[in-house]
């Protein structure tokens, strides 16, 4: 062997340890290791702070994108008019239905802060009985929303700010434009309504977090300022849990496994809707719509992060009244205000169901 070849061979032998295949991967590590050596370790960087997370074990998955279809059964609508512009009338709604789209996209996701952008769109189209013209509303209000339905479109943000390993702040702000608008009559951005909530709370353990706060909300139809209470809890065996943001919603959870769960509870849904965009000569009318949905929901993963959700229950009408906004400015009535409504409407209660397909969060 020539000297050059021996040199080359020597170099290659030296490099062998860097090049040969090493132990193969497996999910479960077979070799014995004394794990007690990892019990007492410190952060290399001084001053490193731990933060609590927003996740609670076993919680129903957060929906990044949700596309749903909502269906409500038949209901009677009657108006009691407190003005000389309209007549009292009634209409039979055969059913109502609409698409719902929601997006909750993480914008910034760090230990010290999580910022999420939220978008939502929902519509409720009312189908009146067509075989009896007398039962179809004829006044401007009924004609408007029976013909055009109601729509909600909004954007917002949710910010989770952990303060340390236990305490956190949660902020939520959204701007929603609601009304009987459509592609032919686009909404006026000046009618955007602002909702917000601020909560301080504690992440007690991986299975429990709670918080108190204050919200500005239209869930009861009218503008209101109310205290809120948040609780997310999962039992030690992970089979039971509670998810609530009172008074907006509360549900008990039964988890069959991490991909399969049942929820029972209620949600208060509501907004204020500008309904006069197509009614010439009448303006500044806002429908204070709010409904309580008592429901049973079943959610399951159909493939990885794609989940299906079915819910069905009873829709109880809380408010379907109309205000004529003075000077086109919204106002605070609260629970005890005595400002009269422009129209007091009665919408009978009915069953409802909703199905949605969802991309859920990691």
């Amino acid at each position: 062997m020539s000297k050059e070849l021996r040199v080359l061979l020597g170099i290659l032998i030296l490099l062998v340890p860097f090049c040969v295949a090493q132990p193969q991967d497996s999910t479960i590590v077979e070799e014995e290791e004394d794990y007690s050596m990892y019990d007492n370790l410190d952060f290399v960087a001084e001053g490193t702070k731990r933060f609590c997370t927003s996740k609670v074990l076993g919680l129903s998955p957060q929906k990044l994108i949700s596309l749903g279809y909502d269906f409500q059964g038949g209901a009677d609508l009657s108006t009691d008019v407190n003005n000389s512009l309209f007549n009292n009338e009634s209409a039979r709604i055969e059913y109502s239905h609409g698409l719902r789209l929601q997006g909750n996209i993480p914008v910034l996701s760090r230990n010290s802060i999580i910022i999420q952008a939220n978008i939502n769109y929902a519509e409720q189209n009312y189908v009146a009985l067509k075989n009896d013209e007398n039962t179809v509303g004829t006044n401007l209000f009924e004609r408007s929303f029976l013909n055009y339905g109601l729509r909600t479109a909004g954007i917002g943000t949710t910010i989770f700010k952990p303060l340390d390993e236990e305490n956190y702040l949660l902020f939520q702000v959204s701007g929603d434009n609601n009304g009987d608008y459509g592609w032919n009559a686009l909404p006026d951005l000046a009618n955007t309504r602002l909702s917000a909530a601020a909560i301080w709370g504690k992440k007690v353990s991986d299975r429990k977090m709670w918080g108190w706060g204050l919200s500005r909300t239209y869930r009861a139809g009218d503008l209101n300022y109310i205290p809120v209470f948040l609780l997310n809890w999962t039992s030690a065996n992970s089979k039971w849990g509670a998810e609530m943001l009172l008074p907006a919603r509360a549900q008990l959870r039964r988890s069959f496994n991490s991909r399969n769960l049942l929820l029972i509870g209620y949600e208060l849904e509501g907004q204020t809707y500008r309904i006069d965009s197509r009614n010439q000569g009448v303006s500044n009318l806002e429908l204070r719509r709010s409904e309580l949905r008592f429901r049973l929901a079943y959610e399951r993963s159909i493939s990885g992060f794609i989940w299906l959700s079915f819910q069905a229950g009873f829709r109880y009408n809380y408010s379907f009244n109309i205000d004529d906004l003075p000077n086109n400015r919204d106002f605070f009535r609260g629970f005890f205000g005595d400002q009269p409504y422009f129209m007091e409407n009665t919408l009978s209660n009915t069953f409802y169901s909703m199905v949605s397909i969802n991309l859920v969060s990691p």
Binding site: S2, E4, L5, V7, L8, I11, L12, L15, F18, C19, A21, Q22, P23, Q24, D25, S26, T27, I28, V29, E33, Y35, Y38, D39, N40, L41, D42, F43, V44, A45, T48, R50, F51, C52, T53, K55, L57, P61, L64, I105, P106, S109, R110, N111, S112, E165, D206, A236, N237, S238, N257, S258, R259, G304, F305, L359, S361, P362
Partner: protein, 153 residues
């Protein structure tokens, strides 16, 4: 002779540059703690790829059974009795340069899901570990901190 020596030199340079690239990637090796402080993960190198296994759990026992935690949420029944301590939850990361490791996956034992993942070293002792679904926008970043044996005081 000169031709042979030149060939040998080229080979040495090729291997050594590869080794240096691997060394840069090896800065990932060590023990790290996720932000929630619930686990510690030792990142090792297997072949040319990087893997991370759980070496410490804040709550090592299942409160329901009183026994060491196992991977009960895994969709694969064969793995549901695998102990979490020693479980490889980071897999197949490849160093691509500029303090970034890609092409890996991260497993979340809390829900039994595996996500695509990238690792970015923001400084010698800090990692941004991003798990995502499909595209990076649909994901979450967790910050992991490097651990060491306590210095004697």
């Amino acid at each position: 002779m000169f031709k042979s020596l030149f060939s040998a030199l080229v080979l040495v340079l090729m291997f050594s540059s590869s080794v240096f690239a691997q060394d840069a990637g090896d800065r990932l090796l060590g023990v790290w703690e996720p932000s929630n402080g619930k686990a510690r993960v030792k990142i090792e190198k297997i072949g040319s790829k990087y893997f991370g296994k759980i070496v410490w759990l804040k709550e090592p026992e299942d409160p329901e059974t009183g026994k060491p935690k196992v991977d009960k949420n895994n969709a694969d029944p064969a793995l549901q009795n695998a102990p979490l301590k020693g479980y490889r939850l980071l897999k197949d990361f490849v160093y691509k340069g500029e303090d970034e490791w890609t092409e890996g996956t991260i497993y979340d034992p809390e829900n039994g899901s595996t996500y695509s993942s990238t690792i970015k070293m923001t400084d010698e002792n800090t990692l941004d570990i991003r798990g995502y679904i499909g595209i990076s926008a649909f994901g979450r970043t967790d910050v992991w901190k490097r651990l060491q044996i306590p210095k004697k005081k």
